[in-house]
Amino acid sequence: MYNDKIHIHIENSRSSAPVFIASEEQVRQLLERNPDLADKLHITIGSSAYDEVERWTDADFKEFYDYMKTADVLVGYCFPVENLATHAPNLRWIHFISSGVEHLAPFGWVPENITLINNRGVHLPKSGESFAMFLGMLNAQIPRLVTAQRNGKWDRAFTSVIKGKTLVIYGVGHQGGEMARQAVNMGLTVIGVDPYVKEHPYCQQVVSTDKMKEVFAKADFLAIAAPLTEETRGIISEEALGWLPKHAGVMNVSRGPLLDQEALHRKLSAGELSGAVLDVFDIEPLPEDSVLWTTPNLIITPHVSSDDLVHYMPLTLDLTIENIRNELAGQPFKNVVDTSKAF
């Protein structure tokens, strides 16, 4: 608490893309949207030079620990986790501005009584549009046409409408569920693969991982949308890609290491898949000498499909406020991270 107000501290990284940096103006607008809470909240914004704590300056640490003395809530992505309970005696919850939290795993550092919250759901308006686009692009063979354009080749590949085709989604959580919703709106049939989810309103069926081979054979498109955990790392292996029909298109919109991207490169080069769109990679930014830059029938987007330049941070802060309201009303938090599953 800070002067009897709930202290929310937002920790920015100055090296982040602007989309991920909260501004004073956004905080002002946030309070305008929530006038009833305005005099109950003390919101501070700090910033460090880099995400990686090893590169923080002494000034970065000092500023952060000063804010932590009174912070009730921390909103951020990267920060020093050692002895957090000592530095931040009042801290009750941490709101990560990302969906994935694997960068701070394992979670032995989390003090008891501190809840971790992630940003799942905040991406949906933007990622929904991106998913509809990627589906349309794979169906219209845009990866192949862009490759042909690179080679100055008029490659008149005709295609049919997407309506009636089948999409298999690996992981039907928030992102996968939105992918399913977009696909159903476009007239596709959707099959989900998920170890935890048993059914989904936009999936014709959701099968467990042991049925992957069976449903991959039916796919016109495969979307990878699950979080990265020990269970999902490398799950879309060369063998799994081989279960897909040759005409299938693949997209990865969650985390690079779920997919064996070298295997994808080989399959696309050999014409054993029709095309792919990758928004995420093993290493980001994708190294200049990666073979993927010139893999035929592959479109690379630089991890931009889900983050809305204008609305991302405002929606993030709205989620923080939603959880403040939940806490004040004695209701459960939204988006609690189950640290037993995340690595």
Binding site: A140, A157, P285, T294
Partner: protein
């Protein structure tokens, strides 16, 4: 009805692309969808070795089979044929249906006998056009042409954009193709303003303005999509001035005919950042010549005139238009998709 049946001649070629192939199978399935048409019409599929407009075109035998078929035909369904012969060798001909939307390859229409009706295929493209237009607007909003240019240079161009919901598309040409674009826009929550000589409210357009307002509307658009016929008036009508009036953040799509755009001006606009990206499905010369500067123009995606043609369903929908028009002919109603020979579209 005791009247003799109409002879429908379907003119196709052995080397026709799968998407445009008028086969027995596709005809049979169309007649299954419209069984009563069999009572009024008999169909014959006439196949030439190649399409008339190809280089080299027809051989002697092709002319023979064409002339043989057309002399008894009441209705001709095809794309291109010896236009000047129609007046003299097709005494029964009442109606010609062209299996394309653009008919500028038949211009000028002086060869068309006054008592022969001409229809085109507008509408056959609608479902595929709608999907293509959705994709194209999303691709431009998400800077896909720019990212593909970056990929060509092995460059990680990580920059972010917002959603396209709530933005505005200017659809130049509010006919059937334009209406499919407006429908796509509505699905995406994008406001659609049409530009068309016919400003009657219709379909999913939020507004339709006359061509005289094009220049005042261009600065308002986040996307500009061209969906109008090629005529003398529209020849290269979209050029430096029009690109200059667009927002720098706006994207440009051409899915009608390449010749309506001044491509030198487009290249300049893209290179100088006067617009953010473009997608072309129609080019001035097709196939686009290997040495065309368009191949490597930054922030431009080229799709080789396939965006609006549905490989599986195009001929099905074409035949549906023909069958429905045969019904109208029988009932003495006005045919759909009639070309006005004076306007040329």
């Amino acid at each position: 009805m005791s009247q003799k049946k109409y002879n429908v001649m379907i003119l196709t070629a052995h080397d026709s692309l799968k998407v445009f192939r008028m086969t027995e199978e596709r005809l049979t399935s169309a007649l299954e969808r419209h069984p009563h048409v069999r009572d009024y019409a008999e169909f014959s599929i006439v196949k030439t070795s190649t399409s008339f407009e190809n280089e080299p075109g027809w051989n002697d035998e092709d002319y023979v089979v064409f002339r043989d078929g057309i002399k008894n035909a009441d209705i001709l369904v095809g794309y291109m044929f010896p236009l000047e012969e129609i007046r003299t060798i097709a005494p029964q001909l009442k109606w010609i249906h062209i299996i394309g939307a653009g008919i500028e390859h038949l211009h000028p229409l002086t060869w068309l006998p006054e008592n022969v009706m001409l229809t085109n295929n507008r509408g056959a493209h609608a479902p595929k056009t709608r999907e293509y237009a959705m994709m194209a607007m999303l691709m431009l909003g998400n800077h896909m042409p720019r990212l593909a240019t970056a990929q060509r240079n092995s460059h990680w161009d990580g920059h972010f954009v917002s959603i396209i919901e709530g933005s505005t598309v200017l659809v130049v040409g509010a006919g059937k193709q334009g209406s499919a674009v407006a429908n796509a826009a509505r699905t995406l929550g994008v406001r659609a303003i049409g530009v068309d000589p016919d400003t009657a409210p219709r379909g999913d357009f939020d507004e339709i303005a006359p061509p005289s307002e094009l220049h005042s509307l261009l600065p308002k658009a986040d996307f500009v999509v061209l969906t109008l016929p090629y005529t003398q008036e529209t020849h290269k009508f979209f050029g430096a001035k029009e690109f200059g009036l667009m927002k720098e953040s706006a994207g440009f799509v051409n899915i009608c005919r390449g010749k309506v755009v001044d491509h030198t001006a487009l290249i300049e606009a893209l290179k100088n950042g006067k617009i953010s990206g473009a997608i072309l499905d129609a080019l001035e010369e097709e196939p686009l010549p290997e040495n065309s500067p368009l191949w490597s123009t930054p922030n431009l995606t080229i799709t080789p005139h396939m965006g609006c043609d549905d490989e599986e369903n195009y001929i099905h929908r074409t035949f549906d238009i023909v069958m429905e028009n045969i019904d109208k002919l029988i009932r003495g109603e006005r045919l759909d998709n009639l070309i006005d020979p004076k306007k040329g579209y």
